[in-house]
Structures are given as structure tokens and as C-alpha cells.
Amino acid sequence: MRNRLTRTLTVTLGLLIVSVPLLAHHGAAQFDVGKKVTVKGTVTEWFWSNPHCFLRFDAASADGQVVHWAVETQSGPNILNQGFSKQTFKVGDEVTVTLEPVKNGRPMGRLLQVLLPDGSTLPLRVGDAGQPPAQN
């Protein structure tokens, strides 16, 4: 019980620090929350929609097999000011994706961070260019 409580508190504290709520429509039931995987691959699709955009890319596994990855983000309007747009990725782009995988081991997850071919990363940090000037 105590171990369980400690583990829960630790996970919660960790999440408070590194919370990455990419979801728009659903919770984290299927994700291995807190786990991070970094994969380098080639973009096969960037789908811009609501409630989730998603990025598909192919990567080589340790044994040389091609793995078809799919990672989701929030909906388009939610990630515009994080620097994403419908034009962010094109098929064939080489990207390095850090993601939170699903629990069942399939090559899927939530996109946490991506390194683009030009060396830049998304999402932008607060204060970076990309957000229109405030009005009012």
C-alpha cells in the first residue's frame, strides 16, 4: 500500500513537472504515461485535423525491419501557436521524434517533441516566434 502510494505520488509529481497534455478528446488510458521513446524515421503522412493531428513515419528497428510509427498531437487549432502547421512535414522528411508510447507495445504514441530536417524543434518554447502579437 505504502509502495503503491509512493509510486502514485512519484508519478504524479513527475507529471506535474513534465506534463505534456497533447490530448484534445481523450485521456491517457492507453498511453504509458511518463515513458519517453526517441525514434528517427522518414515521414509518410502528416494529417491535419480535429480533434487530433497525427504524424506517421517509418523507422528501422534494431533487426533492420521497417516499423510504421504513428503519433498523435492535439487538434490543429491547439498546436498552431506551438509552431505546427499543415505545412510542417512533408512525405520523405527525415525527423527525430520523441514520443510517449501506448502501453500495449504497438508503434504508436503521443508526439512530445520533434527534430525537423532543418535542425529546429517543435513545439516552440514560450517566447519564440510564431505567436501573433496580443490584441486588446
Binding site: 506534463s19 485521456g27 506517421r56 504508436m108 524543434t121 518554447r125 505567436q131
Partner: protein, 323 residues
């Protein structure tokens, strides 16, 4: 490992470490929040005026993934023991909820029927959340979320148009609108066979957005009541709280000052809940520039279909184990 691999990897790790805490439910591009105007002198509220474009005063403040009571349950006030609104709630694995917010004991006061309906709902957020593959949330098939879910689940930038006879609420989420009549008409007397008693003479029909009437109770407080909903085709929120054809919703809009409006919602439904309960407690909204362009946030069935082709039944836990 080659330099070619090491350098980008280190850069990625460094950037990742710096940016994790900021990748949250982002602010609406072009919107102004209270944090952008520290020390702001608050001007007087205009009399009997709700018109304008409104955004939660805190980025993401209107998003309640964890359920209708969440806005009222993110922090327990030590003096009163009551859960109160926290303007900048910490985030956890559901994105928005704190541990306290997920406790079953802060559920609304269900009747037996209400409890049964709640348990039949399989939401993808809240403490009862299930994997996408086994959910039965109607909006995930692009059904209308209806009212009050549009507010209790996902209140985003919205515009209020005010005329002598009605208020029109234009919601960003799913790009929807509803009308609150202020022309003196009464709510449908039988919410299960709802119809206006006006010259319209329309036949009775239940509505996703209900029938709404409102009035000013003082110069700064507008109260609207809504009934006439479908029975159990809409949920109250993203956590699966039930709504029925006997639900009545009371909205209170309190104009606090020149730039702020507070929105509260009380739910009454003798079929589902043993007493009226507050689902939203003074959500702070901030007036935006009239030039602010509100983005689309439409639900496209074909987009949803493509999403589920990739993620639907392939994601998550073993569906059989989650039943």
C-alpha cells in the same frame, strides 16, 4: 556513435528538457489573458451588456477533461473544506485533472437511474476513462455535444451577440451556436414534449441544444434557463455524467468589470440527480478584441474515420480486459 547522430540527439534532449513544461493546452493565438496584463486597473462593468468575444481568462481554463465538477474541485479550500476553482491548476496524466479531481466521492448526487446511466457511459477522460477502442462517447462519432457539454467539457473562445430579443452564443468548439430568448417567452412547460408557446406553433421536439430563455436579474447579472433536451443522447461532460429529457440548466453570467465575465452553471434533473448541483462555479472569462478571429474547430466524420483507421482499435489496452 557518430557525431552526426550524437549532436542532433543532444540538441533534441536539451530542447526537450527546456520545453516540456510549456507544451500545454496552448493559448488561443491573438488572445489576451489576465497574465498578460499584470496590475491592470479594472474599469467599471457596462450595464446589461454581455456582447463581445470571450475567452477563459486563463489559457485552457474552460477545458474540463476530467468532468463537470472539475472546475469546482481542483483545490480543496482548507477553511470551508469545499473544492474551489484554482486559476492555474497543475496538470496530470489526463492533461487537466488533479488527483483530488478524480476522486469518486466528489461525484454529483445521483439517483439510482442517474448512477445506472453514468455507469453505462464509457468516457475517455475522467477517473473512469477507458481506451478509445471501448468508449461510447457520442461526440467521438461527431454527434453534437449539445448544451451544456459545450461549456462543461470544452469552453473555448466564444462570441455573444446581444439583440433586443435574444442572446446568440457562438462557440468555437465544433463551430456551434445557440439562442437564448429574451423576448419574454416562457420555457416549455413539459420538458419531455418541449415546444414554444408562441406564434411559431412549431410541433414539440427535443433538441440537442435545448430551449433557452434568459433575463437580467440586475444590471450586471443575466440568468438563462434551458430545458427540452434529448434523453441520454448527450452527456453533461467529457467524463460521462448523464443528461436527460428532464434536465434543466441554469446559467448565470455575472459581468464583474469592463473586461471580465463570470459564468456559473447549475444542473437540476429529478430523474438523474437528487438535488440541484453546481457544475461550473464562476469560470472567469476575459473580453477580447472585436478583431480577434476565432478559428474553426469542426468535427469532420471523414477525418474521424481516418483517425480511427490508424489509432482506433489498434491503440490502448486489451479491449477485452478493459470491459
Amino acid at each position: 556513435m557518430s557525431k552526426h547522430v550524437v549532436v542532433p540527439t543532444l540538441a533534441l534532449v536539451a530542447a526537450f528538457a527546456c520545453s516540456l513544461a510549456v507544451y500545454t493546452q496552448g493559448p488561443m493565438p491573438g488572445a489576451v489573458y489576465d497574465r498578460d496584463r499584470p496590475g491592470e486597473k479594472r474599469g467599471p462593468a457596462p450595464r446589461r451588456d454581455l456582447a463581445g468575444i470571450w475567452e477563459p481568462a486563463t489559457p485552457g481554463g474552460g477545458i474540463q477533461g476530467k468532468g463537470a465538477l472539475a472546475m469546482d474541485s481542483c483545490r480543496r479550500d482548507k477553511a470551508t473544506g469545499r473544492y474551489v476553482v484554482q486559476q492555474n491548476p497543475p496538470l496530470t496524466d489526463t492533461g487537466y485533472a488533479t488527483v483530488d479531481c478524480l476522486k469518486p466521492e466528489i461525484e454529483p448526487p445521483y439517483t439510482a437511474e442517474g448512477l445506472a446511466r453514468m455507469k453505462a457511459h464509457k468516457p475517455v477522460e475522467g477517473y473512469r476513462m477507458v481506451p478509445d477502442a471501448v468508449n461510447n462517447d457520442p461526440i467521438l462519432a461527431c454527434d453534437p455535444g449539445g448544451f451544456p457539454r459545450i461549456v462543461l467539457h470544452n469552453f473555448r473562445t466564444s462570441e455573444i451577440l446581444q439583440t433586443p430579443t435574444h442572446m446568440v452564443m457562438l462557440y468555437k468548439f465544433q463551430k456551434r451556436y445557440r439562442t437564448i430568448w429574451t423576448d419574454g417567452r416562457e420555457l416549455p412547460k413539459d420538458p419531455q414534449q418541449p415546444a414554444w408557446t408562441t406564434a411559431d406553433r412549431l410541433p414539440p421536439e427535443p433538441r440537442w441544444w435545448g430551449y433557452s430563455v434568459g433575463k437580467w436579474v440586475d444590471d450586471y447579472t443575466f440568468v438563462a434557463r434551458t430545458n427540452g433536451f434529448h434523453d441520454d443522447r448527450t452527456w453533461l461532460d467529457n467524463a460521462g455524467l448523464p443528461q436527460s429529457d428532464t434536465t434543466e440548466v441554469e446559467e448565470t453570467y455575472h459581468r464583474v468589470d469592463a473586461n471580465h465575465l463570470e459564468l456559473s452553471i447549475t444542473i437540476t434533473d429529478p430523474k438523474l440527480y437528487t438535488r440541484p448541483w453546481v457544475a461550473l462555479d464562476k469560470l472567469a472569462l476575459r473580453l477580447q478584441s472585436p478583431n480577434l478571429d476565432i478559428q474553426e474547430m469542426e468535427c469532420s466524420p471523414s477525418d474521424q474515420k481516418h483517425y480511427y483507421e490508424i489509432f482506433g482499435n489498434l491503440t490502448g489496452l486489451d479491449p477485452d480486459a478493459a470491459k
